[in-house]
C-alpha cells in the first residue's frame, strides 16, 4: 500500500472551492470545499439527500453549479459535460452504473468512444485492450468478454463499470455507491479493486453508506451534512463513531461545523 505519510501528501489532483448549487429554491450544496489527492481513496460520505450525487454530477458537468471553482491539477477548469470531464481524465461510475444490458462487455467498456479503423469498428483491438485492462486490475471473475452485460452478476457489472473508467488512462475515478447492491464476497472484490486503483496512483473518490467500506479502504474522509462539507479528515485521525457523528449531526467534538452552523443547516 502507498499510504501517504503525513506531511508528504501529494498536491491535490482535484480541488473544489466554494461550490454552491440550488435546484430552484432548494439549496443543495453550500460553499463546498473538497480535495482529492492522487494515490488515495477519498471517501465521500453523508446521509441520504446530503448532496453526494449532486456534487459528483457538478464535477461531471451534468449539473452546472451556481458558484465556486474547480481546480484540476492546480488549474481552474470548466466542465460542460461528460466529454469534458473525460478529456481531463475524470471518469465516473454512476450510482445506477449506466451500462447497456443488451451490449457485451467490450462494447460497454468502449461505448461512446469506440476504436475504429476507417469507418469500421476495430473489434480485435477493443477486445485486446479491454482484456488487458481487466487483467491489470486482476479481475478473474469474467468468463467471456463477449457475453452480454445482462448475464452478469451485480459484482461483475460493477467490475465492468469500474474497468471502463480506468480504460482511458484516467487520473481520477469517482464511484457512486459501488457496493450498495452487493453481497459480502462481491463487496470485498470491489473494495480490493478500489484500493488497487489508488495504489496504481489514481485519485479515487468512493461514495458509500457503509462504514466498514470507509474504514477498510479510505485514506481521507469527507463528510457532507445537509449540503455543507462538515469536515474532510485523514482516515487514521478519526474513528467509526466520530464519522457517524459527523454524518448525522455535522460535528463531532471539535471537528466539523460550529454548533451554530450545524443548527442553521438543520433548519434550512
Amino acid at each position: 500500500m502507498t499510504q501517504a505519510v503525513e506531511g508528504q501528501q501529494r498536491a491535490p489532483l482535484l480541488s473544489l472551492r466554494g461550490i454552491n448549487k440550488s435546484f430552484g429554491a432548494v439549496h443543495v450544496l453550500r460553499d463546498v470545499d473538497f480535495d482529492v489527492r492522487p494515490g488515495e481513496v477519498t471517501a465521500l460520505v453523508g446521509d441520504n439527500g446530503a448532496g453526494k450525487s449532486t456534487l459528483i454530477k457538478c464535477i461531471a458537468g451534468i449539473h452546472p453549479f451556481d458558484d465556486g471553482e474547480i481546480l484540476f491539477e492546480g488549474q481552474p477548469v470548466t466542465i460542460h459535460g461528460p466529454k469534458d470531464a473525460n478529456a481531463l481524465g475524470i471518469e465516473i461510475v454512476y450510482q445506477d452504473l449506466a451500462l447497456c444490458d443488451n451490449l457485451d462487455v467490450v462494447h460497454n467498456m468502449f461505448l461512446g468512444r469506440e476504436l475504429h479503423s476507417g469507418i469500421t469498428l476495430n473489434e480485435t483491438e477493443m477486445e485486446k485492450r479491454a482484456g488487458d485492462t481487466l487483467k491489470s486490475l486482476s479481475v478473474r471473475t469474467l468468463r467471456s468478454l463477449r457475453q452480454n452485460v445482462s448475464s452478469l452478476s451485480g459484482g461483475q457489472r460493477q467490475t465492468v463499470a469500474i474497468a471502463r473508467a480506468v480504460l482511458w488512462n484516467s487520473k481520477l475515478v469517482i464511484l457512486d455507491e459501488p457496493t450498495a447492491a452487493l453481497g459480502v464476497a462481491q463487496t470485498e472484490q470491489v473494495l480490493n479493486l478500489v484500493r488497487r486503483l489508488a495504489d496504481n496512483g489514481l485519485g479515487v473518490v468512493l461514495i458509500t453508506h457503509n462504514m466498514n467500506d470507509v474504514m477498510q479502504v479510505a485514506d481521507s474522509i469527507a463528510t457532507l451534512f445537509l449540503g455543507q462539507m462538515a469536515a474532510q479528515v485523514r482516515a487514521k485521525d478519526v474513528n467509526n463513531t466520530q464519522v457517524i457523528e459527523l454524518i448525522t449531526a455535522g460535528r463531532s467534538g471539535d471537528i466539523g461545523l460550529k454548533p451554530r452552523e450545524a443548527a442553521e443547516a438543520g433548519v434550512a
Partner: protein, 365 residues
C-alpha cells in the same frame, strides 16, 4: 477471448438442463427461418406452381418492397422508436417522381429532369420527411408514435394535394425529352434478376454493415438498450436518433420509387398500411419493440415469411379474408414465441450469474 480459463461452473445435473435449454433456445432463435422453410415446403407440396423459378422470383420481387421498408423500420425500432409514416412516404415519393417526370412548369417553360435526378429528388423528399420525424422526436420531445402518426397524415395529405387526388399515369418518360428509363427500377433485370431484388440485396448489405461494423450501429443498439447510459457515455443521442428516422424515410422513398416504376404510374394512395407490414416483418424477425434487440437478417427473413405466406395463400386460392386472419395469427404467434425465448434466456443468464458468484466465495473459503 477468455480472461481466465473456463472453470467447471455448474454441477452435472444443471449442466444437462442447460444443454437442453440451449438446444431449445437455438430452435426458438431460428424460428423465423424455420417458419420460412415450413412455408416453402408446405406450399411447394400443395401447389406445383409455387416452387418454380419464375414464381420464386415474382414472390421475391413482392418481398423486396416490404424488406426495404423493414430495414429502415428496424433501425428505428432498435433505438426504441417506431416509424408509422413510411407508408405515406411510399405514396409521396411516387408522386414526387410523377410530378418531376411529367415536367415542372416554372414560369412559362417546362423543366424536365433526367431520371437519375428525379430519383435523387424523390429519395431526398423521403429522407426529408424522416428528418422531420427525427426533429419532432429529438427537438420537441414528441413520442415517436405520435410524431410519426402526425407525419403519416401530413405526408399523405401533401401527396394528395400535389396530385389533386389523381394518378400520374405516364412515368415512362419520352425519348424526345431524354427522360426515359424510370421503369428500370421496377421492371428491369440485371443478370436475369429483377433490379428491385438487387436493390433489396444492396440495402440489406449496407444495413448489415452499418449495424454490425460501425460505431453508429453500436450506438443504435445502445440507445434502445439504455438511452440514459448511452448519453452519459458520450453517445450523440440526438444525432443518432435523427439519422435512424432519416434512414427509414430514405428506405420508404426507395420502396415508393420501385412501386411507381413497376406500374409506370404513381397514385397518391400508394403504400397505405405498408408501415404495418414493415413492423410485422421486424417483429417476426425477432426484434423487440422496446428497442435494443433485433437484426437486419431477422427483419429480412420476416419480410420473406410474410410475402411467401401471402403469395402462397393467393396461389392456393384461399379467400382474402382468411389471408388477413392468417397473417394476424402469424404475427401473434411470433410474439408469443419471442416472449418464451426471452424467458429462457433470462433463466440461462440467472444460472450463469449464480455460478459466477458462487465461485469467488468458494475460492475464499
Amino acid at each position: 477471448m477468455t480472461v481466465a480459463p473456463p472453470m467447471s461452473v455448474a454441477d452435472a445435473p444443471s449442466q444437462g438442463a442447460g444443454r437442453r435449454l440451449k438446444a431449445f433456445n437455438l430452435v426458438l432463435e431460428l424460428r423465423a427461418f424455420i417458419a420460412l422453410i415450413v412455408i416453402i415446403v408446405v406450399f411447394g407440396l400443395m401447389s406445383d406452381a409455387y416452387l418454380t423459378w419464375d414464381n420464386l422470383v415474382t414472390m421475391t420481387k413482392h418481398v423486396a418492397i416490404n424488406a426495404i421498408l423493414a430495414i429502415g423500420m428496424l433501425m428505428v425500432i432498435l433505438t426504441g422508436g417506431i416509424d408509422l409514416s413510411v407508408g405515406s412516404i411510399v405514396g409521396l415519393a411516387g408522386i414526387v417522381a410523377g410530378v418531376l417526370l411529367e415536367g415542372l412548369t416554372i414560369g412559362g417553360s417546362v423543366l424536365y429532369l433526367p431520371v437519375w435526378g428525379v430519383i435523387l429528388c424523390a429519395l431526398a423528399v423521403g429522407t426529408g420527411v424522416g428528418a422531420v420525424n427525427g426533429a419532432l422526436v429529438t427537438r420537441f420531445n414528441v413520442a415517436p408514435f405520435i410524431a410519426t402518426l402526425g407525419t403519416l397524415y401530413m405526408a399523405r395529405g401533401v401527396a394528395l394535394l400535389i396530385s389533386g387526388g389523381e394518378t400520374y399515369p405516364n412515368l415512362g418518360g419520352s425519348p424526345a425529352l431524354g427522360n426515359t428509363g424510370f421503369d428500370v427500377l421496377g421492371t428491369g433485370k440485371l443478370a436475369g434478376i429483377p433490379v428491385s431484388i438487387w436493390l433489396m440485396v444492396a440495402f440489406g448489405i449496407a444495413a448489415v454493415f452499418l449495424t454490425r461494423r460501425t460505431p453508429f450501429g453500436r450506438w443504435v443498439y445502445a440507445l434502445g438498450g439504455n438511452a440514459r447510459a448511452a448519453e452519459l457515455s458520450g453517445v450523440p443521442v440526438r444525432r443518432v436518433t435523427m439519422r435512424v428516422y432519416m434512414i427509414s424515410g430514405l428506405c420508404a422513398a426507395m420502396a415508393g420509387l420501385i412501386i411507381a416504376s413497376e406500374l409506370t404510374s404513381a397514385a397518391p394512395q400508394a403504400g397505405e398500411t405498408f408501415e404495418l407490414n414493415a413492423i410485422a416483418a421486424v417483429v417476426i424477425g425477432g426484434a423487440s419493440l422496446s428497442g435494443g434487440r433485433g437484426a437486419v437478417r431477422g427483419a429480412l427473413i420476416g419480410a420473406f415469411v410474410i410475402g411467401f405466406l401471402a403469395d402462397g395463400l393467393v396461389i392456393l386460392g384461399v379467400s382474402t379474408f382468411w389471408q388477413i386472419v392468417i397473417k394476424g395469427a402469424v404475427i401473434v404467434l411470433a410474439v408469443i414465441l419471442d416472449q418464451s425465448q426471452q424467458k429462457i434466456q433470462r433463466r440461462g443468464a440467472a444460472i450463469a450469474a449464480a455460478a459466477a458468484t458462487e465461485r469467488p466465495a468458494a475460492a475464499r473459503a
